[in-house]
């Protein structure tokens, strides 16, 4: 930690920039296990990034560091001009400005869809209930399930639950959206409805980082695709070159397996 | 059940309390001892049978007798009318006087003064009956499992007064000299050996034993040993 802080100071203050996310020399260990190995990544505002790689390669770890669900041991992460490694209030600010969608939805089972969407705006931002519900209904409309507002998560299909999770994140008005395999817990026929929602979001210019194996989606919306293995970023580039002209051996192998 | 069946079996099962000093205690080698134990042993010697002492408690001693777990109770069982409906009593073999005790500065001189006071007693004991009989309605009687708890309640100030026998009172005096004294003398309570209802033949034999023990001074000796005084008149005479 002290080292990370020292780094942060050395790297000096750059002033506001166009970068949504800036990662520099990031290293993370779980005990002795090196989960992220010198990761460097710059994401511009409005950029859409897709991350892929084999299981255990550190994809989840990478995006979970961005809103500090995981703490890094070395390096520097700046999100929307808030230096996370400097600690303090910044972590709270970053969490309010990033929305996250998980593989397993993680809706709150004891709250209705509407309550799921209004909890954080009310308790974190202090917005009134009426106001919060208005916003929530707007976003539920946008993910095309306005009629499910009063239901409980368990009464929805997986695809519907994931769309609620997206709406819930959007209700906080985030500047960046993080997705961790949002479709891989879904039945095949529900994958499309969730991907469509994400494509809509991308079209509206949301900054997105998305871990996924849906290569069709990557080709369609990604500005850049990243391949990770054993905690390292091994290849990174626009979808065309990434898929049709992979350079890295392990990536070639990986693409062979998943298609 | 008759004396004959007991004698031919060679042992008699006698229930006694072991938490009621000095009538029933466990001695330092953790054997039942005390006035009741000696009386029971005397009876065994008299009848030529082995005595098996079964420890009982205040609340369960009568069930023990009724359910044939013991042949006799020599368990400091005060002779009362209510109890006489459920068991048959021998003539008295012991007696205690019951009084109300309390802190020296508590003013009580007649039963009416108990009004509004809290009085601790051992549940289902002779003291319980005696105090309940004289106490006015607004006295609060608190019933504990045994005398030790009642005494502890007095010592810790949880109750203002307790109803106990003169014997226990001596012990309180030992434990806290000068702090407490007797407020009221309630009754003199005689205690009998109990047999199951309808065991007339056995009762006769027990009565014969008690009479003999009184007559030849054995009972007196035991009383001297445990209570430091001769058998009181109200027991001896009856």
């Amino acid at each position: 930690m002290t080292e990370a802080k020292a780094n942060a100071t050395v790297a000096a203050v750059r002033g506001t920039s166009d970068l949504a996310v800036h990662m520099e020399g990031v290293n993370k260990w779980y005990g002795a296990f090196h989960a992220l190995n010198n990761v460097n990544l710059e994401v511009s505002r409005g950029e859409r990034i897709v991350i892929c790689g084999p299981s255990g390669s550190g994809k989840s770890t990478l995006i979970r560091c961005i809103n500090q669900l995981e703490v890094i041991q070395q390096g520097r992460i700046v999100v929307d001009n808030h230096d996370l490694t400097a600690g303090g209030k910044n972590v709270d600010l970053v969490r309010q400005e990033t929305g996250m969608v998980f593989q397993s939805f993680n809706l709150f089972p004891h709250m209705t869809v509407l309550e799921n969407c209004t909890l954080a705006p009310m308790k974190v931002r202090g917005i009134s209930k009426v106001e919060a519900e208005k916003t929530a209904r707007r976003f539920l409309e946008r993910v095309r399930i306005p009629e499910q507002a009063e239901k409980y998560p368990a009464q929805l299909s997986g695809g519907q639950q994931q769309r609620v999770a997206i709406a819930r994140a959007l209700c906080m008005n985030p500047k960046i959206m993080l997705f961790d395999e949002p479709t891989s817990a879904l039945d095949p026929e529900m994958v499309k409805e969730v991907l469509d929602t994400m494509i809509d979001l991308a079209k509206e210019g949301m900054t997105m980082l998305c871990v996924t194996h849906e290569m069709g989606f990557a080709r369609q919306v990604a500005d850049r695709v990243i391949f990770m293995d054993r905690g390292e970023i091994l290849e990174m580039g626009p979808p065309d070159t990434f898929f049709d002209n992979p350079k890295n051996e392990r990536l070639k192998n990986f693409l062979g397996q998943i298609s | 059940q008759t004396v004959e069946t007991i004698k031919s079996a060679g042992t008699i099962k006698i229930g006694m309390m072991v938490d009621f000093p000095p009538f029933g205690i466990m001695n330092t080698s953790n054997e039942p001892d005390g006035y009741d134990a000696d009386v029971a042993k005397l009876l065994g010697t008299e009848w030529g049978v082995k005595v098996q002492i079964v420890p009982v408690t205040g609340p369960n001693r009568i069930p023990y007798l009724q359910s044939n777990q013991v042949d006799l109770l020599v368990a400091s069982l005060g002779i009362t009318e209510e109890r006489a409906k459920n068991v048959d009593f021998s003539q008295p073999y012991a007696g205690i006087s019951i009084g109300v005790f309390g802190a020296s500065d508590t003013k009580v001189s007649k039963p009416e003064d108990l009004s509004g006071k809290t009085i601790g007693v051992a549940r289902a004991s002779t003291q319980d009956t005696a105090v309940t009989k004289v106490a006015p309605k607004d006295a609060k009687i608190q019933r504990f499992d045994d005398d030790a708890s009642a005494v502890q309640a007095l010592l810790s100030g949880q109750v203002e007064l307790i109803g106990v026998s003169n014997v226990v009172a001596t012990q309180i005096e030992q434990a806290a000299p000068g702090r407490f004294d007797q407020k009221l003398q309630l009754s003199q309570q005689v205690q009998g050996i109990a047999v199951r209802k309808g065991s007339a033949e056995l009762l006769t034999a027990v009565n014969a034993f008690v009479e003999k023990a009184k007559a030849d001074g054995e009972l007196n000796k035991i009383h001297e040993k445990w209570l430091g005084s001769p058998l009181p008149d109200f027991v001896a005479k009856k």
């Binding site: 004891h110 906080m172 | 309640a153 810790s156």
Partner: protein, 222 residues
């Protein structure tokens, strides 16, 4: 052969009913207060302040590994030495709360641990503070998963409360003991109060399942 005679029991039945009422009141009050104690202690056990965790651990271990009777003796006879004098019924209540609190803490802690990590992460990612996550996200589902354990612990508490007659509290067991010492109809009294305890525990089970239906209406996923 013994002949049963329930007449004296019926004559004193009103006293038994009053005793049963005291038992119900004591148990219910102990549960409500004990539940609050449990929740606070369970939350305290997740705290970063180590001494707080140690104190809570010591409390739990001492209570869970010693008999209730001894606990109640110390509260009734021992506390006056510290200047705290409680009436028998309040001492009984305090003892029951202390006892239920220790078991309840363990139960609720298990409930909290059963909450999937993803729930907490989702709350964190939304920017909610730890306290708010506990209050709004963890609390209710945690209580729901351990609800059966809590209710059976409560029933156990109610049955255990029969011991409070030892400090002259006037619960059902005390009423039964008084009645049997007055009438010597021991078996009849015991049969009747056993049945009364059974009725109370079945009654409570029924009430609890009604509460469950109202309090935890949200459906569980398959």
């Amino acid at each position: 052969m013994y002949t049963f005679n329930f007449e004296p029991v019926l004559a004193g039945f009103d006293k038994l009913l009053i005793g049963a009422l005291v038992t119900v009141q004591l148990s219910c009050a102990a549960m409500v207060i004990g539940l609050i104690v449990s929740i606070l202690c369970a939350a305290g056990k997740t705290s970063r302040v180590a001494p707080l965790r140690w104190v809570i651990d010591a409390y739990i271990e001492i209570i869970r590994n010693t008999p209730f009777l001894v606990q109640i003796f110390f509260i009734f006879f021992g506390l006056p030495a510290l200047g705290i004098r409680l009436s028998p019924n309040s001492a009984a209540l305090v003892a029951l709360v202390v006892n239920f609190g220790a078991y309840g803490t363990e139960i609720i802690r298990a409930g909290i641990e059963s909450i999937q990590k993803g729930q907490i992460e989702a709350g964190t990612a939304l920017g909610l503070s730890k306290l708010k996550i506990f209050r709004y996200i963890i609390m209710k589902p945690a209580l729901r998963t351990v609800y059966p354990a809590l209710t059976s612990q409560f029933i156990y508490l109610m049955l255990t409360s029969s011991v409070v007659s030892a400090i002259s509290a006037d619960d059902l067991a005390a009423a039964g003991n008084d009645l049997q010492s007055a009438t010597f109809a021991s078996f009849e009294v015991y049969i009747v109060i056993t049945a009364m305890y059974l009725v109370m525990s079945i009654g409570f089970s029924a009430v609890f399942s009604m509460i469950e239906k109202v309090a935890f209406r949200y459906p569980l996923s398959r």
